[in-house]
């Protein structure tokens, strides 16, 4: 009809504009948000922490690229997801682990937990956490007996715990206090002292000057990262706050040595991997429920399991197992929290 232009224009389905956010942007934001904690780790635990992290990241990225190449899929390690897995795995290891452990862990995380399920978006469990559980089950001695005292010294001058995490100490002391007849008065006294001192070590817990896994000790650094993620809308308030809130309430009720409602909930929030877990791992989009309601259920469940493992379980720390266990329930939660459709009417079948 007309002769102005032979050009055919792009025809695609609507919508024709897209939000600028993308998967790589989200993933790299998380990576950036993890940097403050990495810096804190290097400060407190020395360059060993950096090497462990680097090894872990390299192993994760190389494994992912190799598998994608083998499977003749497009190589997409640039999206930064494997880097997150590497960093998070390293963050969950004690600073003095032998060098091959982050490597083995990363290979397991990527090959078995992620790529065997089809890669990004299809994994059931958080790869870093599953790999940590794998390492803990495989080499428990290396994973639990190699705590390093932070560079600045021990927390609040309790020399005896250079080789333990605060939660570890809390649990041991609580056990002693729970059955005083089995122990010397001196030990009992020491345990009571330890608990008293732990309660006054908030500053150290905040800045991260305590024993623990590489990335979990510095609450402040982690919170800076969390702020970055909030600012960039990478995470939503539901999971982290519900999770931490549940832990706080339950730790207050059950965590005390003098009966119900005497637990030191502030200590429970600040110590161990709760902050790291709540902001960086429980919020993993792929392995958390898709709906808001589901996310709250998920977070409450994680909180309950965390406190249960910390107080009654076999481990001083429960964050990673709690998240893993709740990861397993995500399909169920998603199934039973399908939102009520707009205008849905009860049908009478």
């Amino acid at each position: 009809m007309s002769e102005t232009s032979e050009k055919l224009f792009v025809v695609t389905s609507s919508p024709h504009i897209r939000d600028a956010d993308s998967v790589p942007k989200i993933m790299w934001t998380v990576n950036i948000a993890l940097l403050p904690a990495l810096l804190a780790a290097v400060y407190f635990f020395g360059f060993k922490a950096l090497w462990v992290t680097l090894l872990s990241v390299i192993a994760a990225v190389v494994t992912e690229a190799a598998i994608q190449k083998l499977a003749k899929k497009p190589i997409r390690v640039h999206d930064g997801a494997a880097v997150i897995t590497g960093i998070l795995l390293a963050f969950n290891l004690p600073p003095s682990v032998p060098w091959w452990m982050p490597v083995v862990g990363s290979v397991f995380a990527i090959a078995i937990v992620k790529e065997a399920f089809g890669g990004l978006g299809y994994n059931i469990l958080n790869p870093a956490l599953a790999a940590r559980a794998f390492l803990l089950a495989s080499w428990p001695v290396e994973m639990t007996a190699s705590w390093v005292a932070p560079k600045e010294g021990t927390i609040s001058g309790i020399a005896a715990i250079t080789s333990a995490t605060p939660l570890n100490l809390l649990k041991q002391s609580a056990k002693i206090i729970a059955s005083p007849e089995k122990f010397d008065p001196a030990q009992l006294q020491a345990a009571q002292d330890a608990i008293a001192k732990l309660s006054s070590s908030y500053t150290n817990l905040l800045i991260g000057n305590v024993g623990g896994c590489i990335g979990e000790t510095s609450v402040i650094a982690l919170l800076i990262g969390a702020l970055i993620m909030f600012y960039r809308h990478v995470i939503d308030w539901r999971i982290p706050f519900t999770y931490i809130g549940t832990v706080a309430v339950l730790a207050w009720i059950f965590g005390g040595t003098e009966g119900l409602f005497t637990g030191n909930w502030i200590f429970h929030i600040l110590s161990g991997g709760l902050i790291l877990g709540a902001f960086f791992m429980a919020t993993d989009m792929v392995t958390s429920p898709i709906t808001g309601k589901g996310q709250i259920i998920f977070a409450i469940g994680t909180g309950i399991l965390t406190v249960a493992i910390r107080i009654w379980g076999g481990y001083p720390e429960g964050v990673s197992y709690a998240i893993l266990l709740m990861n397993l329930t995500v399909p169920l939660i998603d199934r039973y929290t399908v939102p009520k459709v707009f205008g849905e009417v009860k049908s009478n079948e």
């Binding site: 399920f117 559980a133 379980g313 076999g314 481990y315 197992y321 329930t329």
Partner: protein
């Protein structure tokens, strides 16, 4: 070892989960976990049969097989304790026959009494006879709650609790598995892993996660 009821429940559901830790009931775990509804039905059927089978086998073992003062020959026929026949070697054969008969009977009974329940559990019942979880829990009860043929304190209650809680534990992981497998149906699982292989890997990862329950101290 003596067990408290609560402790036994935690043990049976989480720590020594039938599937993930004791490796019992794997066939239905792999076979009937493709869909949520059937998983739930199977889980309920197994829990039900496990509890009843445990009850019956406990009674049989205590009163007929074990040569103790509770044996019918001793307390009804006044046979001297030394002369009470020791039939414990017939445990396996008796248990399996009883379970097979019991399943048949339960099936007929449910069909008659509650058609709804039959609709929910009916198709799973025939599959249950050869489910090692049933015979497994029956044998396990004898191993755990008897010593030298004598029931330990609370043996009977513990047996029922263990059977029921193990059934719940079985149902729990079966349903979790079904949820995950339904989701995996829509995933991009590499070809060689599709079907059973990925199901086993899920089971392995599930088992790793359940290690988190290890060492729970419950009073």
């Amino acid at each position: 070892m003596e067990y408290g009821v609560f402790q036994l429940i935690i043990l049976s559901i989480f720590i020594n989960n039938f599937v993930l830790s004791r490796f019992l009931g794997l066939c239905p775990y792999m076979g009937v976990s493709k869909q949520m509804d059937s998983a739930l039905g199977m889980g309920m059927a197994v829990t039900f049969v496990m509890t009843i089978a445990s009850l019956v086998t406990w009674l049989l073992y205590t009163f007929f097989l074990a040569p103790t003062y509770q044996n019918v020959f001793y307390f009804i026929f006044d046979t001297p304790i030394q002369n009470v026949p020791d039939l414990t070697f017939l445990r396996t054969i008796v248990f399996i026959l009883v379970i097979a008969a019991l399943v048949q009977f339960i099936e007929m009974y449910i069909q008659k009494v509650s058609p709804t329940l039959y609709k929910a559990l009916g198709i799973y019942l025939p599959l249950i006879t050869t489910n090692c979880a049933i015979l497994g829990v029956a044998v396990l009860n004898i191993d755990m709650f008897f010593k030298d043929g004598l029931p330990l304190p609370n043996s009977f209650i513990n047996t029922l609790v263990q059977a029921f809680a193990s059934g719940i534990g079985f149902t729990l992981v079966l349903v979790l598995m079904a949820g995950i497998r339904e989701k995996l149906e829509l995933a991009n699982v590499p070809k060689p892993f599709r079907g059973l292989p990925i199901a086993f890997i899920v089971a392995g990862l599930m088992s790793i996660a359940f290690l988190g329950f290890a060492g729970f101290s419950v009073e």
